[in-house]
Amino acid sequence: MPPPAWASLIIAAALLAWPHAAHAADDQQAPTRLTEFSLEQLGDIEVTSVSKRPEEVRRTPVAIHVITHDDIRRSGATSIPEVLRLAPGIEVARIDSDHWSIGVRGFGDQFSKALLVLIDGRSIYTPLFAGTYWPAHDALLDNIERIEVIRGPGGTIWGADAVSGVINIITKSAADTHGVSITTGAGSIDRGIAGLRLGGGNGSTFDYRVYGKAVSRGAEHHADAATFDEWWSTQAGFRTDWRRSGSDTITVQGDVSKGNHGQRVSVASFSPAAQVPLDGVLDALGANLRAQWQRDFPGGDGFRLQAYVDRTRWTAPHFGERRTTFDVDFVHHLPLGQRHTLSSGAGSRISPSTFIQAVPTLDFTPRSDTSSVYSAFIQDEFVAIRDRFWITAGSRVEHDSYTGFEAQPSIRALWTPTPGSSVWSAVTRAVRTPSRIEDAVVSTSYSTTTIVPIFLRVTGNPDFEAERMLGYEAGYRTQLGAQAHLDVAAFHNHHTGLASYGLGQVTIEQTPAPVHAVVDVLPVNGVSGTSDGFEVSPGWQLRSWWQVRGAYSYVRFNLANTPGSIDVNAVNRYDGSSPHHQVRLESHINVGHAGELDTVYRYVGPLAALVVPAYHTADVRIGWAVSPRAQVSLAGQNLLSPYHVEFAHTPGPAVGIARSVYLEFNWRFANARP
């Protein structure tokens, strides 16, 4: 499918013509340099990205990529999953308008198993299917300070389920969101997005904000002209930050949300014996409240105590679930002498839930269940050679209601041969605990008819164990002169007991009529083996007004069935549901002091197991600061073809992700002086 001429023209213009135009504008206007500002003027400039992380990131013995607020703004993305495409090593595939498959270093799946996702320390990973139901979790993107994307296991610090990676979404402090901010936008698929934020306080001891957001999104491209993936959602929330004596911060925040997520599912019927597609909506209600007390003393001594409660109620055409999660977590940092920092902590999470049956072929036994996790960790960061060599070692011990005790130790080393570069390596053990589905589901699907109809019945297996991984990682970061940097990370992971299916009994059932055969299949820990890969992500500040960045990610699997696993597709499914190669190229240009031109090209390799071909596409965004208070942007997404398929999951023809345009207007009125 060759890209149309106009799309090529836009890309060509973006990559070639604009830099010259921008440069010319730079020279002619001789814009005011910050070095010519007075002290008062400097103090009145509103700054972005008030993150203090860059220097810490360079010294972290972890494959981490930080997506800043400015990166999010300039990506033109309108949802959290789309923003995550900015990080290397992560695979984001849009299944339809409101569903995504997200994996880190492989393991792409709608239910992003083994990938832990947190919003301000609150886990949005659900024990129902051991993953994240992305459409139900939104945020006002303007409230996000940064997203830390950690590739590789992080069980020692983050706990169970941080196996393939951790996504840590951190919102801004209320002190950084004073004033009024209004965002409105509309486009060809994003029909309308409206956001409002009000914030105030004195900027030092007490600050607050409230926000609301509404989204309406249309269907993507369907060969059969279906529109089942239209959706809308609304969300509102607040945050208060209260600081005492400079070292204590108490944060209280909460959100309520309601979403109406269209989807097509496939449900088995006995008479006639068939698998019937069912279009409907998942109605998602959510509410959460979180409190955190953080104490930081100079020199690194401090603690953080947080507690939250999170309620969800999902009502879908084929199932419903009510869940309440209670979580308490405590982390303490204690410097010991000049060389050691001891971190320790403990936490528990209790999550009672009730399954609501909607169709006869999907049930859980028992329907009500309480999953619980208790854990504690201890870790020491040891300065072996000051400013040169660090060793971090520790372990978490966790008890969860499905598999009992699990240990998740890790050892990491970091060496900084020069102030601008670092080399690190790590060995980590991590576990992914079973989900409700693997433990207790009873799900029947129609297979085929030979003499009588044959149905497959997945029956939860209480003997299903945690999936375990031992990860070996190494990385190198360097500053190449003042203008360029390079980040390289490689991994070799050993996986044990990945989920697949084993054979149970075969029974003949008389009811419901007609007579049919049922083949029981059980989730078993049937696949083991290794995965290897690496990510290379360079960045280059070509001119003060022009930055280019890139990322190449590679992953391959070497997995095999173990005895007892009859699931002949499992190995191919793991190997072929994630692209082996991904490329991303970004160009960010400042045109004068008010204009922005952002271009992204990306290539994603084929998904063999899903018969999804490779695709390449491009996004362009033009932003213009009309005034200090008003900004307009026009973003074109997926411009290189009318549509392309990124994943295949829903029954029926695969959904094409369509070319789209989106126009956004942001107006902010900030208090001039706090």
Binding site: T35, V47, D70, G299, P419, A594
Partner: protein
């Protein structure tokens, strides 16, 4: 459905153009990155401080040093690329030990050095350099200028006593703009 889309789009375009025509007259100053502004401050401070000459220091140029992990990256070098203070060219250096500070005029102390602040303060004061940082409680612990970010704006606090002890003279203009001036250890 399509007609609904077009109407929303048309309304949005109209709203945007209305806003442009209202707001277009305002000065164009988009937001800057935090460290872009801090880099400009480091340069600007030099105009309001008098250094006592030292034999260890080459006063024919002006040197800004980053001690520890560098949060500025290319930003600092770009800010200073054509900058001149009192006819002297300005350069940036990255150092990892306080001994190397003797050749600097301004030392930005990275938050990576938080834990050895107690050791650094006397060494840097002895070198007669202006110390600047954004680590918490920097001025309380003997640092001279501390960046404080509130409501998305970068301001600074001063410990005048520390500056005097290092033989630095701060202009009244600098003290006037500071959001807080600490005159002796422990008092504001």
């Amino acid at each position: 459905m399509m007609r609904g889309h077009r109407r929303i789009l048309a309304a949005c375009v109209a709203a945007v153009f209305a806003a442009i025509s209202v707001a277009g007259a305002d000065a164009q100053s988009p937001r800057r990155s935090e460290y872009e502004v801090k880099a400009a401050y480091l340069f600007t401070f030099a105009r309001f401080v008098e250094w006592t000459p030292r034999p260890s220091r080459d006063d024919s140029s002006f040197t800004i040093c980053i001690l520890g992990a560098d949060p500025f990256g290319a930003t600092l070098d770009m800010t200073l690329s054509e900058a001149v203070i009192r006819g002297r060219r300005v350069g940036a250096r990255r150092i990892s030990e306080p001994d190397a500070a003797a050749g600097c005029h301004i030392v930005f102390v990275s938050t990576s050095e938080d834990r050895r602040m107690a050791d650094l303060v006397p060494l840097l004061a002895g070198a007669g350099v202006l110390t600047v940082s954004d680590m918490p409680k920097f001025t309380e612990r003997g640092g001279m200028i501390q960046f404080v970010t509130a409501a998305n704006r970068v301001r600074f606090e001063i410990n005048l006593q520390s500056a005097r002890q290092a033989g630095l003279m701060m202009s009244s203009e600098l003290l006037r703009v500071a959001s807080a001036v600490r005159n002796a250890t422990g008092s504001m």
